[in-house]
């Protein structure tokens, strides 16, 4: 029985707390610090934690297309958007589980290498929405190395406060696809209620961007 667990809800026990204590950053501070003004980006957010991070950060902005299903689809959605809007900065923000579900997308994206695309992986090492089960990144998988191995030329790992400014610049200025791995503690994202209707969000996004 793991200390602190309540009716199947998993709270990190002593051994895991030891591991998670090596992650100093809280997503509720680190994500906004890394992103800066979200209006500078067109944003695709993967489901669950990062959708909440960015729903909160943008106030459910019309420059945000946040998924609530199609797990694994965020990165490639961002690629299609980046190719269609070469003069705009496109940010894909997603969690470790979502990215792993279609991790081959890193290879597909690296081969295209659009200069206006940045990928931010908010890696808390757990599946937050389903009870904080450990994900593969708690079991040895290193997504930054996978991104580099896939051919993404610019990758950065953010684990400490001091890592943030340089990574923030990459998200905004790198002239080639950039991948930033943000290691955060397995704590909850901000609570935020956003529009969950995919067609409504699609129309809203396009109306704001294209006037359609």
């Amino acid at each position: 029985m793991v200390e602190g667990s309540v009716r199947g809800e998993h709270r990190p026990g002593p051994a895991e707390r030891g591991a998670s204590q090596s992650y100093l950053l809280d997503r509720r501070q680190a994500v906004p610090e890394l992103v800066g003004d979200p209006r500078d980006f067109l944003i695709v957010a993967g489901l669950a934690g990062t959708a909440k991070d960015f729903g909160h950060l943008t106030g459910d902005g019309d420059n945000l297309f946040a998924l609530a299903g199609a797990m694994g689809a965020a990165a490639m959605t961002g690629l299609g958007l980046a190719l269609s809007q070469p003069d705009r900065r496109v940010l894909v923000a997603t969690g470790d589980g979502e990215l792993l579900m279609n991790v081959g997308a890193l290879a597909t994206i690296a081969a295209v290498n659009p200069p206006n695309l940045a990928i931010l992986c908010v890696d808390n090492g757990h599946y937050g929405e389903t009870g904080y089960q450990r994900s593969h990144t708690s079991l040895g998988v290193d997504l930054e190395r996978m991104a580099a191995g896939a051919g993404i030329r610019t990758t950065r790992r953010v684990e400490r406060e001091a890592d943030i400014p340089g990574a923030a610049r990459l998200l905004r200025e790198e002239n080639g696809t950039a991948f930033v791995l943000l290691k955060v503690a397995p704590t909850d994202p901000p609570k935020f209620r956003r529009d969950m209707r995919p067609a409504a969000v699609r129309h809203r996004f396009r109306r704001a961007l294209l006037g359609l």
Binding site: L67, G69, A70, A73, A75, G80, L83
Partner: protein, 173 residues
């Protein structure tokens, strides 16, 4: 192309896609789509995107639409099996979606591994809210493409054009 040679239906199909403004071509390489793939690679005005798995092309098409562009997913029938969950975003978001599917497990197929998905293509498309147009003869390719492109990009529908084994022939492997 040498003068006097009529364009192949594959070349006509490529030109039709371009005439309708399709500029993102996504594919897992397949022999049935070789001409379309090669033409997209040679065309400086389009993005030619090789996928590690077919569902990436579904998400790409959604992203392209969000940004105001038009994508096409070129895949073999077996690849549809990989696409199913991402197609839920296409249907839920009411995205326009065009896929050209080179059939296997179809008329004259000799590889038993292809049979299951070959039979499943139309039921799976129907289950995911995608209409299919079967093309059996070379002369039907261009009209079917025109029809599909109109439905997809004018009416924001979801359409699969099935290039059947009567049209493209059965493979020997």
């Amino acid at each position: 192309m040498p003068a006097g040679n009529p364009a192949s239906w594959q070349d006509q199909l490529y030109e039709k896609l371009r005439a309708h403004g399709v500029d993102q071509f996504a594919y897992v390489p397949d022999a049935g789509h070789a001409t379309l793939i090669d033409r997209s690679l040679a065309d400086p005005d389009v993005h030619s995107i090789a996928l590690t798995t077919e569902e990436e092309g579904v998400a790409l098409a959604a992203g392209a639409n969000l940004g105001g562009s038009r994508a096409v997913l070129l895949m073999q029938s077996s690849g549809l099996g990989n696409c199913v969950n991402f197609l839920s975003m296409i249907e839920g978001g009411q995205f326009p979606f065009l896929t050209l599917v080179s059939m296997r497990g179809d008329y004259g197929e000799g590889n038993p591994w292809q049979m299951s998905m070959g039979k499943a293509v139309e039921p799976v498309l129907r289950a995911m809210g995608i209409r299919s147009l079967r093309v059996d003869h070379p002369g039907d390719v261009e009209p079917a493409a025109e029809a599909a492109l109109t439905m997809v990009f004018k009416a924001e529908e979801r359409v699969a054009v099935l290039l059947t084994q009567k049209l493209i022939g059965a493979k020997s492997f």
